[in-house]
């Protein structure tokens, strides 16, 4: 039997090792005023450039946490007044609204932001003036179809997707995904809950297969003949259109794109946006950062680098894919974000009733 190893001589080495593994935050002490703490639900590798340009221009270093919207919100709630977050970026209108209702934003008065972001794309001003959050970019939810099987006129509205002629031909991602919940929430505003539930039932009846996968999978489903029509965000569509890989180009070969409801209320758009955190430790840097995100350079980055629609009006689009699919512009719907947010609960219950996964 071996004698038990005495731990004492090793204690120092153990402590050293532990310190390396933990990397205590003290080791990262930095000058407090040149820092911005960012909680972001944006998950795009191309955003790296956006952040480093800000640091170059202002000398403000960005500390970042990327997580999903729900995770960021629960983290902020737990941290309360001790939260280090300065700026919160979220990628869904309903979540922005939720964060606003939960009081996670510090309303901001900024001439630059007010002048750049249209009133419909930011939070309603508070009593003291200032908005809780600002839209920074948008994505439209459009219909893609197989040009060999269907004609554009047959599906120029969201309502038509439920018509019996498309039985067994529709591909869609999970109804509970935020992109679909927002669309359905907006539909509830346009059609009323009873009609919307009937419409959702129609969608379920038309499914080519149970909802699964992401938006790109729906597009590929149309291209491969699994279905004839699908719903997708323009963001994923534009990426495929601009790809120089033969596989992706083949996907786009017979694909038609429709911006629905141009003759009525307009195409549904979802908002990615952000605001200053309620307990921001560097509020000035935070405002500076938001103002930077609506500058022409940053907006061009959203459009060109990340295939999103800029929020600042009058900006010339340099993105060939966005240009091509929309013909330069399209009519987007004007539904209060708060209504879309408030409808989410109702919509999920409808989905459960009609059996959309």
């Amino acid at each position: 039997m071996r004698s038990p190893i005495s731990i004492m001589p090793h204690l120092g080495a153990l402590l050293m090792a532990a310190a390396t593994l933990v990397q205590l935050p003290a080791a990262h002490a930095q000058s407090q005023d040149k820092v911005l703490n960012l909680y972001s639900a944006r998950h795009y590798p191309t955003d790296e450039a956006l952040y480093s340009q800000f640091t170059q221009a202002t000398g403000i270093r960005i500390n970042r946490i990327d997580a999903d919207d729900a995770g960021i919100l629960s983290r902020l709630k737990a941290e309360g007044s001790a939260s280090p977050a300065d700026v919160i970026l979220l990628v869904d209108a309903a979540r922005l609204w939720r964060a606003e209702v939960d009081g996670l934003f510090l309303p901001v008065k900024s001439k630059v932001l007010d002048a750049s972001v249209p009133a419909t794309l930011r939070a309603k001003p508070t009593d003291e003036g200032g908005s809780a959050w600002f839209g920074l970019s948008t994505r439209a939810r459009v219909i893609v179809f197989d040009q060999r099987r269907l004609k554009r006129e047959e599906l120029d509205t969201y309502e038509k997707l439920a018509s019996p002629q498309f039985k067994g031909q529709l591909c869609i991602r999970s109804g509970s995904h935020p992109y679909n919940l927002s669309l359905f929430g907006a539909m509830t505003e346009h059609l009323g809950p009873v009609q919307t539930e009937r419409w959702l039932k129609g969608l379920v009846d038309n499914l080519a297969r149970p909802p699964r996968g992401g938006d790109t999978d729906q597009i590929k489903g149309v291209a491969s003949g699994e279905c004839a029509v699908a719903l997708t965000n323009t963001y994923y569509l534009a990426r495929l259109m601009r790809s120089n890989k033969p596989d992706d180009q083949a996907v786009m070969a017979h694909l038609g794109v429709v911006f629905p409801n141009q003759a009525s209320w307009g195409t549904h758009v979802n908002i990615a946006g952000g605001g200053v955190a309620r307990h921001a430790k560097h509020p000035e840097n935070a405002v500076k950062f938001l103002e930077y995100l609506v500058s022409p350079a940053a907006q061009q980055h959203f459009a060109n680098g990340n295939n999103e629609w800029p929020v600042v009006p009058g900006l010339k689009l340099e993105n060939p894919a966005l240009q091509a699919m929309s013909g330069g512009g399209f009519k987007s719907e004007l539904v209060p974000i708060s209504a879309v947010g408030m409808n989410q609960f109702k919509v999920q219950q409808m989905l459960d009733r009609v059996g959309m996964k």
């Binding site: 998950h43 737990a78 941290e79 909802p211 489903g221 596989d247």
Partner: protein, 537 residues
């Protein structure tokens, strides 16, 4: 003495807190959460429960089948390639289930290369292969990544005693099938049950695979009520039901173990004298195939598919390569730190439970075991709710920031989930040390602390090493808690793989996924080595 007692209670409280928060949700039941629950119960909940049940059943069949067959084959027989397969069978342990799911889906789905090729080749129309994104697909993926738990524990149990007992049975004239049925399998049964329990808990907690495959399980329901309905109470109440199921699984497992307790410390030495049965011809090929198939499907094929995805569609030109090392290092250090802590805590808890087998400590330790079955995101909520409450009550303490600005919260969440894994391993080590050894030592006046150092530790080293390595691999694959609780600028490989997959860039996601598998291989190899060397006696 009292100090260590208080410290023990404190540790137990910390580990149980998130689970208790979940249970506490029933005390705050209100009209809204009742509405959510009732609405779900009338519409989707029965389906969720059913698909969870069916999923578990299939995974159980898969892991017990593959795990037991491969363990029996490599320990009782000698055939060409046995030594390689012996450790290769552990390789799928390094594969996160969600990564395997990405890899297979991309290849096998309707629009994927496999079906396209088949359609073009034979001029077929429509669906040629069964849909991978389905219940059976999820069951296959989970079974392929989880069977190593059964294999690992069963192999350990068999290697120690089976060969010489099999030898004895052979000399008494028992046929080979009878020897396997009457000697080997009963010997391995507690280990198989323990491994299967781990796999069941992973399956119940899984969200990554089933959500990607569009399979609506009970966990999906929990996520929906929390994320979409914004009702954390309803989510917590549903989680309670899940906990109930896990409790049953654990009790069944414990019963199976207590009925079959083989303690003996001279077995390993004798095992080395006995020789496994040598196979030739068709039997040898069959044995090779039985062990090769799980390795191929659970490891080799997904890795090749990922490499293929990377090769054809991964655009890695604008990748921040410099930060790749950071991600790898973060994955590794978080894993190692948690693993050491988890093994230490687990061995301490197991020791205390052994000292007072019928006391409240034993019950609390059983409760800690539940954490593994709780979906990571639920643990995050269960942990953040009380933290938020303390923060709101005493804002000056800054508790809220402490938990997330440092590794504290993340390590806490990891421990809640993974101490159970370490406990399983340590526990299986303790089962093999006869209690009479403790009693003799105590009668000779040995203090408890010395008993642990001089008797338990030398006999337990292998189980402890296994505990450390298992937790290390598990933490590196963990996602929901890492995503939400990590401090600033602490991205890991799992986080990056997830972010890219979420952005539907599977080609790019292949790179961090492969790196994750590569880093995970190190502990898996070590694990295999640690298990091959028997404990000194």
């Amino acid at each position: 003495m009292y100090l260590s007692r208080i410290f023990l209670l404190l540790v137990l409280a910390c580990l149980l807190l998130p689970v208790l928060t979940v249970l506490g949700a029933w005390l705050q039941a209100d009209a809204r959460s009742a509405e959510v629950l009732l609405g779900m119960a009338q519409t989707v909940l029965p389906d969720y429960a059913l698909s969870s049940l069916v999923l578990c059943a299939w995974v159980l069949v898969g892991v017990v089948g593959m795990g037991t067959v491969s363990a029996v084959t490599v320990t009782l027989f000698e055939f060409r390639g046995r030594r390689v397969l012996e450790w290769a069978l552990l390789l799928p342990l390094a594969m996160p289930a969600y990564v395997v799911a990405y890899a297979y889906t991309d290849f096998l789905q309707f629009s994927g290369p496999a079906q396209q090729w088949l359609r073009e080749q034979w001029g077929l129309q429509g669906r040629v292969l069964p849909e991978i994104r389905s219940l059976w697909g999820a069951a296959c993926v989970l079974a392929l990544t989880l069977y190593p738990y059964v294999y690992l524990l069963a192999r350990g149990a068999l290697a120690e005693r089976a060969t010489h007992l099999m030898e004895a049975a052979r000399l008494l004239g028992a046929s080979l099938p009878r020897r396997i049925r009457a000697v080997a399998l009963p010997l391995a049964r507690p280990a198989i049950a323990a491994g299967a329990a781990l796999a069941m808990m992973e399956t119940l907690a899984d969200y990554g695979v089933s959500s990607y495959f569009g399979v609506q399980t009970f966990t999906t329901g929990i996520y929906k009520s929390w994320l979409v309905m914004e009702d954390r109470l309803a989510a917590a109440q549903l989680s309670t039901v899940l906990l109930g199921v896990v409790l049953v699984v654990l009790l069944v497992e414990r019963r199976a173990q207590s009925r079959l307790r083989f303690a003996g410390n001279r077995a390993a030495e004798r095992a080395r004298e006995a020789q496994p049965v040598r196979l030739h011809g068709g039997a040898q090929v069959l044995a090779q195939l039985l062990c090769l198939v799980p390795v191929l499907l659970g490891f080799v094929v997904p890795v090749v598919l990922l490499l293929h995805a990377l090769w054809t569609s991964g655009d890695t030109t604008d990748w921040p390569w410099g930060r790749f090392l950071d991600w790898t290092w973060n994955s590794f250090r978080l894993g190692l730190l948690t693993a050491l802590l988890a093994a230490a805590v687990a061995s301490w808890l197991a020791f205390e439970a052994r000292r007072q087998p019928r006391g409240p400590v034993t019950w609390a330790v059983q409760g800690v075991g539940l954490g593994y079955a709780v979906p990571g995101a639920v643990i995050v909520v269960g942990l953040l709710l009380p933290v938020g409450w303390v923060q709101a009550r005493w804002p000056d303490w800054g508790v809220g920031a402490w938990v997330t600005a440092t590794l504290l919260g993340l390590l806490w969440a990891y421990l809640v989930r993974f101490v159970a894994v370490a406990l399983q391993s340590v526990h299986s080590g303790y089962v093999r040390i006869p209690i009479s050894l403790d009693e003799s030592a105590r009668m000779l006046g040995t203090p408890w602390s010395r008993l642990w150092r001089a008797v338990h530790w030398p006999l337990m080293r292998r189980s402890m090493a296994a505990a450390v390595l298992l937790v290390l691999v598990d933490v590196m694959k963990e996602l929901p808690a890492t995503l939400v609780l990590r401090p600033f600028n602490t991205d890991t490989l799992a986080v990056m793989a997830y972010q890219l997959a979420r952005d539907e860039r599977l080609g790019e996601a292949a790179l961090p996924s492969l790196a994750l598998v590569l880093v995970g291989l190190i502990p898996v190899m070590l694990l295999s080595r640690a298990l091959r060397r028997p404990d000194p006696v």
